[in-house]
C-alpha cells in the first residue's frame, strides 16, 4: 500500500492521540514510581475513578464542573490513599506493593461495577468539542477531504499542556528541585533535614490528579466501563519502563512511540498485536534502563 500524504497525516494524528492517553496515564505513574519507589498497580483504577466521576458530573451538571471538580477530588483521594495505605509499603518488597495495589485496584473496580453496572456508560462530548475538524481547510498540502475528530485533537493539546506544566513544576520551582533530588536519593534528602514525607504525599496526590485530568478528557475516548482500568494497566506500565523508570521525558517519548507504532501497523493485524511488546523487548535489550532511565533506580 503506497502511502499518500493524506493517509500519512491521519496516521500521525492517530499516533499522537493514542500516545496522548498513554502519556497522561504514564506521567502520574512514573512520577510515583520515580519519587516514591512504589509499583502502583492501582494507577489504572485511579483513572477509572476519574472517568466515572467525570461522566457522572458531566451528565448531571455539565462538563465545566467535571473539569473543575474531578482533578482536585482525585488529588485528595491520592493523598488519602498514600497516607492510609501506600506509605506503609515504602520499605516493603515490590511483590508486596504489587499485591496491595492490585487488591485495591480490584476493590475499586468492583465497587464501581456494583454502583454503576458492568455496562458501558456513554460519555457525551461537550458541544464545543464535538464534531470534526476539516484539516484540508488548514493544511494546504492535503489533497481533498481530510478530517479528524475535534475532541481527539483537544486531547493532544491537553496532554501537551499537562506535560509542560509538570515539567515546569519540577524544573522551575523549589518544590520540584527537592522532588527531583528525592527521586535520585531519598535517603540523602532525609539526612539533609528535608521533610520528604510530606512532599511524597503531595507527589502521590499529584500523580493521582494527573489521572484525574486524563479521565476528564480521556473518558469520551476510552469510554466508561469497569474494564478500562485493567486494560490500560499493562500498556501504561510498558510506557513507563520503556521510557526509563522515573523519567518524565522518557515516558512522553515512549508514549508517543507506542501510539505511533499502533497507528502505523493498523492494517497489519499480526504486527499490530505484538508491536508494543516487540518495541519493549528491543528497547530494553538495547538500552538497559529504557530510553532515559537513571542508573540504580528499580534495578
Amino acid at each position: 500500500m503506497d502511502m499518500t500524504l493524506n493517509a500519512f497525516t491521519l496516521y500521525i494524528l492517530t499516533g499522537l492521540q493514542l500516545g496522548s492517553i498513554f502519556v497522561l496515564i504514564a506521567l502520574g505513574l512514573t512520577l510515583i514510581f520515580g519519587t516514591l519507589g512504589v509499583v502502583n498497580f492501582a494507577h489504572g483504577a485511579l483513572y477509572l475513578i476519574a472517568i466515572y466521576l467525570a461522566v457522572s458530573i458531566n451528565n448531571a451538571l455539565g462538563f465545566g464542573l467535571a473539569l473543575i471538580l474531578v482533578p482536585p477530588i482525585l488529588f485528595v483521594f491520592g493523598v488519602l490513599m498514600e497516607r492510609g495505605l501506600i506509605q506503609r509499603f515504602y520499605d516493603r518488597p515490590h511483590t508486596d506493593q504489587i499485591l496491595v495495589t492490585f487488591g485495591l485496584a480490584i476493590v475499586i473496580q468492583e465497587l464501581l461495577k456494583w454502583v454503576f453496572g458492568a455496562n458501558n456508560i456513554p460519555f457525551a462530548i461537550p458541544s464545543w468539542g464535538n464534531g470534526i475538524l476539516m484539516l484540508h481547510d488548514y493544511l494546504p498540502f492535503l489533497d481533498g477531504f481530510v478530517v479528524y475528530p475535534k475532541w481527539r485533537l483537544i486531547l493532544v493539546v491537553v496532554s501537551i499542556v499537562t506535560v509542560t506544566a509538570v515539567f515546569a513544576l519540577l524544573h522551575l520551582t523549589r518544590f520540584g528541585l527537592v522532588i527531583r533530588a528525592g527521586m535520585r536519593d531519598a535517603e540523602m534528602m532525609q539526612f539533609l533535614g528535608v521533610n520528604i514525607n510530606r512532599r511524597f504525599m503531595i507527589v502521590f496526590g499529584l500523580g493521582s490528579m494527573i489521572a484525574g485530568i486524563a479521565g476528564v478528557f480521556g473518558g469520551p475516548v476510552t469510554q466508561v466501563s469497569p474494564e478500562v482500568g485493567m486494560h490500560l494497566l499493562v500498556p501504561s506500565f510498558l510506557v513507563v519502563v520503556i521510557g526509563g523508570m522515573g523519567s518524565l521525558g522518557g515516558a512522553v517519548i515512549a508514549g508517543i512511540l507506542i501510539g505511533m507504532a499502533q497507528s502505523f501497523t493498523a492494517p497489519y493485524i499480526n504486527l499490530n498485536t505484538v508491536i508494543i511488546y516487540l518495541i519493549t523487548v528491543v528497547i530494553l535489550l538495547v538500552r538497559p534502563r529504557g530510553l532515559l532511565g537513571a542508573k540504580g533506580v528499580f534495578e
Partner: protein, 459 residues
Amino acid sequence: MTDVKSEKSSNTASGWSRRSVLKATSAGAVGAVATPLFYTQNAWAEEAIGNYPVKGSEVVLGFNVPQTGAYADEGADELRAYKLAVKHLNNGGGMLDTLKPSKLTGNGILGKKVTYVTGDTQTNADASRTSARRMIERDKVIMVTGGSSSGIAIAQQYLCNELGIIFMCGLTHSNDTTGKDKQRYGFRHFFNAHMTGKALSPVLSKEYGKDRRAFHLTADYSWGHTQQQSMQEFTEKEGWSTEGNIMTPLKTTDFSQYLSQVLNSDADVLVLNHYGANMVNSLTNAVNFGMRDMQKNGKNLEIVVPLYSRLMAKGAGSANIDGVLGTSGWNWALEDEGSKVFVKTFTDEYGFPPSQAAHTCYVQTLLYANACEMAGTFYPPEVIKALEDFKFTGAGNGETLYRGADHQCIKDILVMQGNSPSARTSDFDYLKIVDQVDAATVDYDPAIFGGELGPYVPA
C-alpha cells in the same frame, strides 16, 4: 481397560448386555421387550451417564453465567430469566401456557421439583469450565446452561459433552457453536452470524441501495470472522462490493487507527463486526470521526452493526445508534402470545422487560424440561432425541425447528434499528423492530459448516 470399552460399545450397539438386563429387571421394567434400547421411550434402565439417574425428589440445573467482567450485566439478566423459568416449571405460568406442543405440567420436571445452582464464567474459558465442573461433580446437575460469548459456550459444550451432561447454550452467535464445534450434548436456541447475514442484507440493500461499497472492521476471533464472511457473502449477493476488511485485535479499546483507514478508502458503508465493548467503542469512535454525517460517493456514509443487543445499544448511547441497522434474536416489543406472556411475567417479577439474552436462556430451560417430559426420562440420549427435530411454537420466534443435524434452532430473526433519543420512551427501547425475517428465509444447509455431533453415549 480395553474390555470395559468394548463392553460399553456392545452395550449400546445391541442394546442388551447381561448388566443392563439385570438393571432393567431390578428397576421393574417387566414389560420391556427385546428391542434395542435406543428405540424405547423409557430408557431409565440404561447405564449411568453424567448425573443420570437423578436421585431424590429434586432435580438440579446449573446456570453458569458471567457475574464478573464485561458481560456481567448480560449475565445478571440471564440469571433473572433462569430463576423465572424455574419458578414457572415448578408452579406453572409463563410460556408454559403458550409453548406448543408441550408436556410441561407446572409440577417440576417428571414430577421432581426443580432447583438450581449458579456459577460465574468470568467470561474466561478456563474459569467457566472449572465452574461447570463444580456444578457437575459436586452439585450433581443434570443440565448446564448459560454463557454470553461463543468461546465460553464452545469451551463448556466440549466439557459437558465429555461428561455426558446436556449443555443448553445461552447467548452465542458464532457459526462454530453449531458448526465445526457442534457436539451431541450441546444445543443452541440463539441464532448465528450466518443467519444474521441472510436476514440483514436484503434490508440493507432496500434501505441503502444496491450500489454500495462496504468496509468491514472485524473482531479478530472466530465469531468476528464468521460474521464478516456472512455479511460479505450476502451483501455481495445484493450487489454490494467490498472495499476492505481490517481485523481488529479483540483487546482493542480505541479504534481510531482503523477508522483512519476507512476514511482513506472509497467505502460508503462501514460494517462493524464487533460485539460487546468492542462494538460500543468502535461505534462511538466512528461517530466521533463524523462518519454519521459524512458523504461518500454522493451518498450518506452508513454504519451497520450486524449483531445488536439492548445493553450494547444503551452503552453506545441513543444519539450514536440512531438509525443504525442490525439484527437481534428477540425483542420484548414482539406481539405474539409467547413473547407477551414472557414479558409480562418477567416485568411483574423484576420491574423491567427482559433482554434477548434473558429470552433465549428462559426458552432453553423450558425446552430442556419439555424434552425430558416428552422422553419420559432424564436419560440424556433420550432427551437429546426428543430435542432433535422438535418443532414448536409459542416461544416468541414463530414456528421454530430444533434442527437435529446440527442442534441449531431455525426461527424468525429480527432486523432492528436504533431509536432516536426523542422517540425513546424508556430505558429499554433503544432499538425498534424494522422487520421480522421468517425462519424459511434464514434457513441454511447444516452441512456447510462441517463438524460432527458425535455419539449419543459419550466415550
